[in-house]
Amino acid sequence: MNLTLGKYSPFNTVIHRLDSRIKLVSLIVFMVSVFLNYGSAYMNLVVYAGIFLILFIISLIGHVSFLQLFRSLKGLWVMVLFILILNLLLPGKTSGDIAFTIGSLNVYYLTIINVSYILVRLILVMMMTNVFTSTTKPMEMTGALEWLFYPLKFIGFPIHKIAMAISLALRFIPTLAEETDKIMKAQASRGVDFKQGKFKDKIKAIVSLIIPLFMSAFMTSGELADAMEARGYDPNAKRTRYRAYRWSLKDTCGVILSALFLAGMIVLAVKQYDLFALLNVSLPILS
């Protein structure tokens, strides 16, 4: 079981030192860019490749383990299969040229392209979040979220409570991961094999992990709530910060760059420029 994916890696790189708010804004910008449609399949491919390259460079600078990410992608095949089946069965998605047939079921090029889109988008989103969580401390992440949601405060949205809930959830990820590791080892001492064995045995192995983990998580949450109350925590009280965020020129530049990137991607998506047509490159039409 991969427990290290997305865990904060304490390196001191430029990416780590960047303001968490900038990183959050960039993450949102990248996510929106990935989900836009840039016209032809080739154009989408070019954009995705560009985003992949940017993420790859950021990952290299930030010492984010790529290997770990790709190892965790092995588990995605179930999702791919599910999406493929869903796309095969969905009405309206079955048109164009047939790529191949399975029994009496026709698999169209369009279906394969759609599934590939979803898969590539999913991988890119996983990469982005992996970079963000590996280079940003959980508390900084919460600070960034609180900053992002700040305007909602004026319409009575309980941003502090939400931020506290998120920060507690994030704070306890490593604790839960440690607990998971401990329970897995304890069950391994009783002969449980989490990696090999029949499907039925694997289900039983997971049950032997999940029940103790839930019991421990509920107990910890109860104890934490008591401990917070014992120290006088009031969710409605006005709060201050130990480290106040100061807006600097770097932040303004970061936001402007992100906004420009997003604007460029939106223009590309709305205008549906075909780079290949502009360069007079003819490619077979996939439909």
């Binding site: 890696s9 304490p10 304890a186 009783r190 002969g191 032997s208 029940i211 103790p212 421990s216």
Partner: protein, 311 residues
């Protein structure tokens, strides 16, 4: 069943800024039928060391042998295995790797490991089901597993009335006994326990240690990692002191606690009964410290001194 550790090193988070040497050049032999205590401050490497004894953790380098089986698969080996480029070699290595993992897994039946707060590993709906879960995993038939579970439960002092009860309804001490029974049911040759007495009341602690003594007397080796020096003095016949992943003392508990300078330097607290005996000695009582193991032996020693004085 002897366990040997040869030049064992273990590094956590290798290659990260948080990299930490948990074990450094450990050379150790746990002889057959021993009652050994591993002591040292928190973070000294006790838990890491015991997890090497049944292959739950692989050494970064070095060799661990359990009886005649050598766990020569190190983390370095695993890394190399992942770097094989030749498909045929890779398949061969993967097959070898799976075989080794299977062999290491079978070791866990022979070296039973009870973690700290083992009650958190309980998950079945009844006590008997939970205790028989381990033997079933190691290939016992349902009937054999049931018999092993009954024997283990009777050893830990839980009678028939507990069999069909939910383990989650039991008290903390009873839950721990169920969890320990879950490992005893495997009938291991070596029983390793990480902080077995932590969180137990005095009665529970004594009951558990008496249980371990019985198991030891029946031929099973016992290895405990503990901070409880009274337990070390009373029950163990060997004490290994760890500090920052290194063995700094390997002797008998009596010799260890008589070495006042070492005890002071290593920031260990001597057992309460031993401290009391030392106070008596400093006040002129001719106490023989080598005879002190617990309150009973201390009382006998005081009587002996008293009788000698009367003569």
């Amino acid at each position: 069943m002897p366990i040997t550790l040869k030049n064992v090193n273990h590094i956590y988070d290798e290659g990260l800024p948080t990299q930490r040497m948990a074990l450094s050049d450990i050379n150790l032999i746990f002889e057959d039928h021993c009652f050994t205590a591993l002591i040292g401050e928190t973070g000294s490497g006790k838990s890491t060391l015991i997890q090497h004894l049944n292959g739950l953790l692989l050494p970064t380098s070095g060799i661990v042998s359990v009886n005649d089986y050598v766990i020569d698969m190190t983390l370095e080996y695993k890394k190399k295995h992942g770097q094989e480029t030749n498909v045929v070699d890779k398949r061969k290595m993967a097959k070898k790797h799976r075989k080794k993992l299977k062999e290491i897994k079978s070791l866990r039946k022979r070296v039973g490991l009870v973690f700290q707060f083992p009650e958190y590993q309980i998950f079945e709906e009844t006590v008997i089901k939970d205790v028989s879960y381990g033997p079933k995993n190691f290939g016992a038939t349902p009937d054999q597993a049931l018999q092993s579970a009954k024997r283990a439960l009777s050893l830990v002092g839980l009678d028939k009335s507990y069999y069909e009860r939910s383990p989650f309804e039991l008290s903390g001490g009873e839950k721990r006994r169920v969890a320990i029974a879950g490992i005893i049911a495997l009938n291991p040759d070596v029983l390793v326990l990480d902080e077995p007495t932590v969180g137990l009341d005095a009665a529970g602690e004594e009951m558990l240690m008496n249980l371990l003594t019985d198991i030891y007397k029946n031929g099973t080796s016992i290895i405990i990692a503990t901070h409880n020096m009274d337990v070390v003095l009373k029950y163990a016949n060997r004490a290994i002191v760890l500090d920052q992943g290194k063995i700094i003392k390997d002797t008998t508990p009596l010799i260890l606690f008589q070495n006042h300078d070492f005890i002071k330097q290593s920031s260990l607290l001597p057992p309460k009964v031993f401290s009391f005996a030392l106070s008596l000695k400093s006040k002129g009582f001719n106490i023989d410290l080598a005879r002190i193991k617990d309150t009973e032996t201390l009382a006998k020693e005081i009587m002996r001194v008293k009788n000698e004085a009367q003569k």
